[in-house]
């Protein structure tokens, strides 16, 4: 399974289209610095692609978390809420934000793969 990346620096792993995992990228957490707070969406909320679904904050800055794909939030990472530093220490793993039931899997095709995202982030 491949992970796809958005221009807003989120990643989505859609191995399970009914529970695609969303988080922020290594680049995003590095730009933010030490994450001290996350605001996660309510389970059951439906968002369109590009909607603000959450917030991630470091000591120095706050950033919105955008939906990389449309869908309904089916689960949020309570461990991340309790320990926001997981977004720094393991952004692609234990630091995931929420899971989404995709409403339009074709949106994944327009997202970047890892190679494309790496060059995008490097030039950002």
């Amino acid at each position: 399974m491949t992970i796809k990346f958005s221009k807003d620096h989120e990643w989505v792993n859609a191995a399970d289209a009914n529970a695609a995992v969303v988080g922020i990228t290594v680049h995003a957490q590095d730009a933010l610095g030490d994450v001290v707070f996350v605001d996660l969406p309510a389970v059951g909320t439906t968002f369109a692609q590009g909607d603000v679904a959450g917030v991630v904050e470091s000591v120095k800055a706050a950033a919105d978390v955008y939906m990389p794909v449309s869908g309904e939030v089916v689960e949020v990472n309570e461990a991340l809420r309790a320990d926001p530093s997981l977004a720094n220490s393991d952004p692609l793993g234990a630091g995931w934000f929420f899971k989404v039931k995709l409403s339009d899997a074709s949106q994944l095709d327009a997202l970047m793969d890892e190679t494309a995202y790496s060059s995008f982030a490097a030039s950002a």
Binding site: G33, D34, V36, F37, D39, V55, E57, S58, V59, K60, A62
Partner: protein, 378 residues
């Protein structure tokens, strides 16, 4: 307070060192400045609280006022006792406009009876120097020092580290200073800073700044600290940031800086008034009930950071003020803020609501500093 967007960024004499150290550079006050080094804001903040941190604050403005009338002239610009400040001592000052609003906050040091050394904010320095020149340029020489860098060494081990290089510097007490040779550099050192910790600020010729900084960083206690941690350290110490917590529309009384206005300049004092905006400032001092807003400290009762410009309401939903600085204090380990509120809601212990993304975050007015200061008073 930002520089014109088109202006090229200036660099400090330590620019090459910052880049060599892997700093993330950002525009600040018209300069390219290190916001953090690879260790990161949190680690840098905590290191400063437990050991010693080195800050490049060369973007700040340094100037000298020279002449037999310098102290009296400078005093005419501020609600502060300049004339009686003894030689060898430093004091906090406030330049006011004719409405009593704060043009800048600053530190000044009495070098000699006829000489004052002044440090002002980087983003304000051009305007400050023009203001000082225009108002008192006929009474004393106003001599900017753009050829000098400014370093701050802050933290409980700062004195140990610096005394190793400059024996005797540890004898200085808070808000005093003197000339020292450090690693062959001609330094002017004061025991002061902007972190709430013991520490020093060091003015040094720009050409010697790199040598001095590298020598300080070679001390085992010392690590480089960026502007990000400088901001979280000062906020935990309850210190105002010009442009956030102070501006030309806030008076010293609204800003709860009454301690900075000595009795001799207040109503009934031997040199009462005689500074810009004195009518308004003295009236506010004499009649605190006339204030429409007052600066307070706030602590959040939930772990949600509350940032600048966040609206504050009563628990009943009535707007009472706004946050001017706020973050999760890395040492305090709770969200803290400075804010201006209706004086009716300024008493310590008052509960207020901060409206964050449409939701009310409960906060409580509390005394500052949030983290106890550890200035060395001998």
């Amino acid at each position: 307070m930002s520089a014109p967007a088109a202006a090229p960024l200036l660099t400090t004499p330590l620019n090459a060192l910052h880049i060599e150290l892997g700093a993330r550079m950002v525009p600040f006050a018209g300069y390219s400045m290190p916001v953090q080094y690879p260790a990161g804001l949190m680690a840098e903040h905590l290191h400063t609280r437990q050991a010693a941190g080195l800050f490049d604050v060369s973007h700040m403005g340094q100037l000298r006022l020279v002449g037999p009338d310098a102290a009296a002239a400078f005093e005419s610009l501020m609600p502060v006792d300049v004339i009686d400040l003894p030689v060898g001592k430093q004091r906090y000052g406030l330049l006011l406009n004719d409405e009593g609003g704060i043009i800048d906050d600053l530190m000044f040091f009495r070098v000699a009876q006829d000489e004052i050394f002044v440090i002002v904010n980087g983003a304000c320095k051009v305007g400050d120097i023009a203001h000082i020149q225009a108002r008192i340029g006929q009474r004393c020489q106003v001599i900017p020092m753009p050829d000098h860098a400014l370093l701050a060494l802050q933290g409980p081990q700062a004195a140990t580290a610096l005394a190793r290089l400059a024996p005797g510097v540890d004898k200085l007490v808070f808000m005093t200073g003197g000339n020292f040779q450090i690693a062959g550099c001609d330094c002017f050192v004061t025991r002061s800073g902007y972190t709430g910790e013991d520490g020093f600020e060091i003015s040094v010729p720009a050409a010697q700044a790199d040598t001095l900084a590298r020598t300080l960083l070679a001390q085992p206690e010392v690590k480089p600290i960026g502007l990000g941690a400088r901001n979280s350290l000062r906020l935990e110490a309850g210190l105002c940031l010009y442009g956030n917590d102070l501006d030309t529309t806030t008076t010293p009384v609204e800003a709860a800086l009454n301690w900075a206005m000595q009795k001799v300049r207040r109503t009934g004092g031997a040199r009462a008034g005689g500074f810009p905006g004195a009518d308004k400032v003295l009236a506010q001092l004499d009649n605190p009930a006339s204030l429409t807003r007052k600066r307070v400290g706030l602590v959040a009762l939930e772990r949600v950071p509350v940032r600048e410009h966040t609206e504050l309401q009563t628990e009943g939903g009535q707007k009472i003020g706004e946050v001017t600085s706020g973050l999760l204090g890395p040492s305090f380990d709770k969200p803290i803020a400075l804010a201006y509120v209706d004086p009716q809601h300024a008493a310590v212990g008052t509960r207020v609501h901060a409206i964050v993304r449409g939701k009310a975050v409960p906060m409580e007015v509390c005394a500052t500093p949030f983290v106890p200061t550890r200035y060395y008073r001998g």
